[in-house]
Symmetry: C2
Amino acid sequence: MGRRGSGLRAEVIAVGTELVQGLTTDTNSSWISSRLAAIGIPTDFHTTVADDVADLEQAVRQAVSRSGLVVVSGGLGPTADDITREALARAAGRKLVLHQPSLDIIRERFARWGREMSENNRSQALLPEGASVVPNAHGTAPGFALEIAGAQVFALPGPPHELRAMMDDNLVTRLKRMQTESAVLRLRRIHCFGPGESQVDQKIRHLMIPGRNPAVGLLVSNYVITVKIAVQAASETQADGLIAGTEREVRELLGDIVFGADGETLADAVAGELLKRGLTIAVAESCTGGLIAKLLTDVPGISGSFLAGVVSYSNDAKREILKVPEDVLRTDGAVSESVARAMAEGVRERTRADVAIGVTGIAGPTGATPEKPVGLVYIALADTKHTQVRECRFHGSRERIRVRSALAALDAVRRWAMSFPV
Amino acid sequence: MGRRGSGLRAEVIAVGTELVQGLTTDTNSSWISSRLAAIGIPTDFHTTVADDVADLEQAVRQAVSRSGLVVVSGGLGPTADDITREALARAAGRKLVLHQPSLDIIRERFARWGREMSENNRSQALLPEGASVVPNAHGTAPGFALEIAGAQVFALPGPPHELRAMMDDNLVTRLKRMQTESAVLRLRRIHCFGPGESQVDQKIRHLMIPGRNPAVGLLVSNYVITVKIAVQAASETQADGLIAGTEREVRELLGDIVFGADGETLADAVAGELLKRGLTIAVAESCTGGLIAKLLTDVPGISGSFLAGVVSYSNDAKREILKVPEDVLRTDGAVSESVARAMAEGVRERTRADVAIGVTGIAGPTGATPEKPVGLVYIALADTKHTQVRECRFHGSRERIRVRSALAALDAVRRWAMSFPV
């Protein structure tokens, strides 16, 4: 503890043979760390181990030797593979004891489902002696907390919806109590879309100097460039003030490529800009195949703005649903500026939306011609007065081209919406 | 090494402060392990560390002390944060030396892009003395391989498309050479959709006994139940034979809930069944908002079957694009059996597809009424003769309800297609 200062620092351990074998990707560790960061607790290590008592015991011993907080996810199910209770008891030098209230809750849950409780499920009510229960409102396995070698260790079940609810309902409160006011850490993320990483880097390079507080860093993931502002301060007020100052500076330097903060997606931003202006949207997609509609409808409440999407994959669909003229399709081909334009205008006229998007392109791996390579994408935006079309040349796999095209289309809508007063 | 037998065993280390802080989810480790598993090398540990030379050096020392193969991803960029070269050199007790051929390649790449090479990029051509280069066709940072304490250590850049190409183009071949024929490991995955985990468990429980070879296990992820068949054998022929025997047994026990194997998605399976019968499909989506179209168009070559999708989010879109009768919408409401039916029939008639799907429901968190709770979803399937509608009640978050609905719809199409001869 204290290897990087006086504040509480965490590590996260995920348990599951399917995780280390690569059958499933561990998303719990990343989510847990993001929640810890939000309350000012940085994570230094993630470790993933198989369903192996000795491996997990060793990983826990190592974790408690260097960090003040250890969160373990997974391995609390009812089967013989579920070894977290046993491994944590061993690491703590305690025995497993039956926790009667948990057993009663498990029994009652099975009764409510009208199902037989198996003997295996009894094992889910075993806890290391001295552990305190973390209730699980969404599943049978309770979580628990215990101290090992001076570190607080929490064990949570693997299913993400159970784990997330338990973390938000219970752990976050417990952890906030554990923190001292003397070392507040805060992280703010500013998300940008549009230019390359190096262009953003050039604009804010003078802020990215070692030792600066707040520290400023850059991160690129899935075409979104994130500026991280991390601060250490003596109080929350001081932390918030320092963050706000640097954030203002970053936003001034980057201008309208900034679309959001702290995990907001580009679709969230587009939805926000449209909804607060009462603007409606419709989309016509070919190569993105429904991805733009999917991203927009990921946002709860989007029904106030999103009217309809048409995935016009075949030429017939372009012609009959979107009224793309037959001769345009024949002369210019389905992947062309004129077809993107006709798609956007077609879906806008059909739905009477304020704005419409039309996207056609070649996502690959097949379908390319010498004149129209994989990655050639036309993005049209039509409103009641004009239609503008952009020709793009994207690179990479089918998935990357589709994602990049969808994000570019969403960003075009965001910029369009922002040209109107709120 | 050899802690679990004589075969080569791996661990994977991911490097990145953004990963341990939960700003980004590490998908490299899982992907690397799945590739290693495919060539018979099991992974025992994943570790993620921050951009910290001492942390990474410690993690590498621990890894080489217990595993014969260590793959490190990330930290090979040009900035001061990129500490993998330095940490591996320290763990190996070697110094960093300039690798002239790599520098030439980096220089040439910048020249081709018409950009200035910065001094920082020079650091990407530094390698621990004695390391061999792993070429990177898609980026500036070369990877490298070196032996530390008897273990083979590979360092690869973090961007997934660079890492994946280097692994497939170079590492897999190198690793296959390293393996001995005496301990072939193979993994086969059989994917199912439909019933609950416990029903699958009951049918194949007698195969899931400790010590059995091939070993049989169950895994649930995103509503797909996967039966894992893992074998240890003296030769590839023997391994393949053992796997085939158990696979036959599993498939007989599980019947038509099995849709694919070894990472095939439900959309892949649907596309396969439709394409090999020359059947066309169209979809009309409300609550799934384009997700079904997106999943289908994730499959390359689907344009041979997928004609169009309509995301009829508003009532106007349902009425005008899909011809859902006004009085049905008024009497039964947008979330109803009759509207799902009319959506499927409407998009089928418009596109003249052989089969069409109509999905309407309440994904939440808002929009529910006492009679129509969040999770109520109607899935209609229309062909040239009949339309069938299923009423479903799903649970969980907006995202979970949308995913579950989309998969249920795809599975309905799969079963429908399989009722026709090939």
